[in-house]
């Protein structure tokens, strides 16, 4: 019997995939857009994101048990569907490459300074490939097992950093102005764009209903989580947050448990890495699945190492960590959110025009 992905496992994956963004450069890039009002952005973007997500989920509710591929095939046809899936694949592939590169950069700059970047990158991807090859069920169970530890350790880190916080740092309340907040919130929808590619794994789940429920839970929790993290980092770093590349790692290097344990970042590193592995294993699995579907490849698992190698080659193109953060990743951030939103709106609009919603209603009526 094929193992199914339950709601708990799915929600854990979704929370880890999106919540982990607070540990890289997301807080500082949000801060540079809206200054002290940066903590509002995740919540407002979450609000913006509600509408397309709701429409997408509604479309899915008509096609019970179908995943994104089936939906696109059914609604957009063979040719347009192919292009939509291809663009989805390219964007998520690039996002995967640069996000993993950023993780490797963090490990390289903070923990393993003399090891060549490529070696670290290869080891990192190797673990992700191993996870992705095991399948989404395994990733899901691991995510559910570890999520409590990850959340607890992260909350612990945030609580420790409140020792040196000054709550006044979040004033002026509107940061660099309401306009900036709205602008940043629109591009901030990229934060949650992963939800749309997560629809690929609906077919691995027991029911579409579980998927819908899990998505809502994860969206709300993530919006609160990211917002809280940005809030606390703002209180800790104040104006310096703009210049701090990776606030989470700078923070865990700064504080200590009294005199006795002064260098505590080594306690947080393995847990953070675990979260990273789960996040990227799931993303890699999804990317491979999309690729396999586009080119009609049956045994997708064997593709994973190949794709990961290609991603590694893309990931090492940027020369410095600064290029990754400011050029490559910023561009993806700018494209991914709107593109994914457009796809979900397109699917809903086509379904509406084709009268799929009416059909479903009639069916129920009968």
């Amino acid at each position: 019997m094929k193992q199914q992905l339950g709601i708990r496992e799915y929600t854990s994956i979704a929370i880890l995939m999106i919540g982990a963004k607070t540990t890289e450069n997301t807080p500082s890039s949000l801060y540079s857009e809206a200054q002290s009002a940066a903590w509002m952005i995740p919540i407002i973007s979450g609000g913006f994101f509600l509408i397309p997500l709701f429409l997408l989920l509604k479309t899915f509710s008509v096609f019970q048990g179908k995943d994104l591929f089936a939906l696109i095939q059914r609604l957009l046809g063979k040719y347009i569907g192919f292009f939509v899936l291809l663009s989805l694949f390219i964007i998520s592939s690039l996002a995967f490459s640069y996000d993993t590169r950023m993780y490797t950069d963090i490990i390289h700059t903070f923990y393993f300074r003399t090891t060549p970047l490529v070696v670290l990158y290869a080891i990192f991807l190797f673990v992700c490939v191993y996870g992705a090859k095991k399948g989404i069920q395994h990733i899901g169970s691991i995510a559910y097992i570890t999520i409590w530890y990850i959340i607890l350790s992260f909350a612990f880190a945030l609580i420790l950093s409140t020792k040196d916080n000054s709550i006044q740092a979040i004033y002026p309340l509107w940061g660099s102005g309401i306009q900036d907040i709205i602008k940043a919130s629109i591009s901030g929808t990229t934060l949650f764009a992963d939800f749309i590619i997560l629809t690929v794994i609906i077919s691995n789940m027991s029911s579409t209903k579980d998927f819908t429920k899990g998505t809502w839970i994860a969206l709300i929790l993530n919006a609160i989580h990211i917002s809280a993290a940005v809030f606390i980092f703002t209180c800790l770093f104040d104006r310096s947050l703009e210049g701090v590349g990776y606030p989470f790692h700078t923070a865990i290097r700064y504080f200590s448990f009294g005199n006795f344990l002064s260098n505590v970042e080594t306690l947080f590193l393995p847990i953070w890495l675990m979260a990273g592995f789960i996040r990227f294993a799931a993303l890699l699995y999804i990317c491979t699945k999309i690729f396999g579907h586009i080119f009609h490849i049956k045994e997708v698992e064997y593709l994973t190492p190949t794709l990961a190698t290609i991603y590694l080659l893309i990931g090492i193109i940027p020369e410095t960590p600064l290029d990754v953060a400011l050029e490559f990743k910023a561009k993806i951030r700018l494209i991914a959110g709107p593109a994914f939103l457009a796809i979900s709106l397109l699917l809903w609009a086509v379904a509406l025009l084709k009268g799929e919603f009416k059909h479903a209603k009639n069916k129920k009526g009968m």
């Binding site: 002290s36 002026p172 660099s176 104040d238």
Partner: protein
């Protein structure tokens, strides 16, 4: 088939175990020389700096019960360099071990160099070096940093990391030196609105010392005799936009630490004249602060108005006038009013100094002003740096007396 699978799995496990050693980042404790203190001076060559490294020997004191090695606990080297990052490599031509800033505790800058505008780009490279932690302390010494480390010969804590850790921690606890981590230095610099104060230290005793009140000394002015190390930590160096401009005495530093809600003071002991007798006898008090300040601002007018109430708790530790507070509640009231008056006058002195001489707030006061603006643009238009010297600032201490000291003995004395 089964066999091949097993072999494959074993191979994978073996390779993962190999990576546990840390690949290229494998480090041996024995192979490392940890720099605990870093001194920065102006060099005789133009555009260069003189770097002094205080290197601890990890082998000393690591063994319990007097074993260990007979090696010295520390080594000090000074040389000219362009910056202190490449200096690590240069130092390796003298020191056999691999130099690491991983455990750097304190960066000591000579007063002369701290006042130089070149200081800012040099200290900013601490941000670039990921080995240096932002919780390292920044200290300013009166003499040359290279001489400071040489003269500093602690008797009790021969291991330098413990010496600096204890010295600084206890100094901060009793408020004589500010909590001047690099983190605070850079956040004050990034805000650009307030001053930053760094701890002031010296290993050189001043000549012609005179006796002063307990906390009015700056480093080097306290006359101590005995078998001891001459290093003193007291007072503060004031930095404006990252460059030193002035010094503060221990008393001023204490008062600023009391005002500053972002530092912890734990054990501030002070003397103030006893109001009940006039032969120069002093009351001993312990000051603690349990609540945060209440700050109210009116920034609309030409002259901004700022009201700060500072809640403090006093414990009276001595009673030279033998006053009986229990029998005479009026005296309690009198003492309280006297304390309020006395601290207000102290506060006003320091406040005036910050506004006229320093022209900036030595603790993050501007942060509290942001609340009154909607956006950063408005706050910048207000121009805190320019408004501060003209502001009408009133500091109001709210004093609670927790304890009047041991009463029984006083009673007996009076009766007998």
């Amino acid at each position: 088939m089964q066999k091949i699978k097993k072999v494959c799995k074993l191979l994978i496990i073996m390779t993962t175990i190999l990576s546990l050693a840390g690949c290229w980042d494998r480090e041996e404790l024995e192979d490392n020389a940890y720099v605990i203190g870093l001194g920065i001076d102006r060099s005789e060559h133009k555009g260069k700096i003189k770097v002094t490294m205080l290197i601890a020997n990890p082998e000393v004191g690591s063994m319990q019960g007097g074993g260990g090695s007979t090696e010295k606990p520390r080594e000090i080297i000074s040389f000219d360099a362009n910056d202190f990052i490449v200096a690590k490599a240069t130092a390796n031509s003298i020191i056999s071990r691999d130099i690491s800033y991983e455990l750097l505790k304190v960066i000591v800058v000579s007063e002369d160099f701290a006042k130089d505008p070149d200081f800012l780009p040099i200290i900013s490279s601490t941000l670039k070096d990921k080995e240096i932690r932002m919780d390292s302390y920044l200290a300013v010494c009166k003499e040359k940093a290279s001489e400071y480390f040489l003269k500093n010969q602690p008797r009790m804590e021969t291991r330098p990391h413990k010496y600096f850790q204890f010295m600084i921690e206890h100094g901060i606890d009793n408020g004589l030196i500010p909590d001047s981590t690099l983190f605070r230095y850079f956040s004050a610099l990034d805000r650009g609105t307030d001053l930053f104060i760094a701890m002031y230290t010296t290993a050189e005793k001043e000549k012609n010392l005179s006796f002063k009140e307990e906390d009015q000394y700056t480093a080097g002015q306290l006359d101590v005799s005995g078998d001891l190390d001459d290093t003193q930590f007291s007072g503060a160096a004031v930095f404006k936009n990252g460059v030193m401009i002035d010094t503060l005495t221990g008393l001023d530093t204490r008062i600023i630490n009391i005002w500053d809600d972002t530092t912890d003071i734990k054990d501030v002991l002070v003397n103030i004249p006893d109001p009940f007798i006039d032969n120069n006898k002093q009351l001993a008090l312990r000051v603690t602060k349990t609540n945060n300040n209440k700050i109210r601002m009116n920034l609309k007018g030409v002259r901004p108005k700022i009201d700060i109430t500072v809640p403090m708790t006093f414990t009276i530790m001595s009673n030279p006038s033998m006053t009986n507070y229990i029998q005479d509640p009026q005296k309690k009231q009198f003492l309280k009013e006297y304390l309020v008056k006395y601290t207000t006058s102290l506060f006003e002195n320091v406040q005036e100094k910050t506004q006229t001489e320093l022209k900036g707030s030595p603790y993050p006061l501007s942060v509290y002003a942001r609340k009154y603006f909607k956006t950063y643009q408005e706050f910048e238009r207000f121009n805190w740096v320019k408004s501060y010297p003209n502001a009408d600032i009133t500091l109001k201490p709210i004093i609670e007396i927790e304890d009047y000291g041991v009463q029984r003995k006083v009673l007996n004395n009076k009766e007998g």
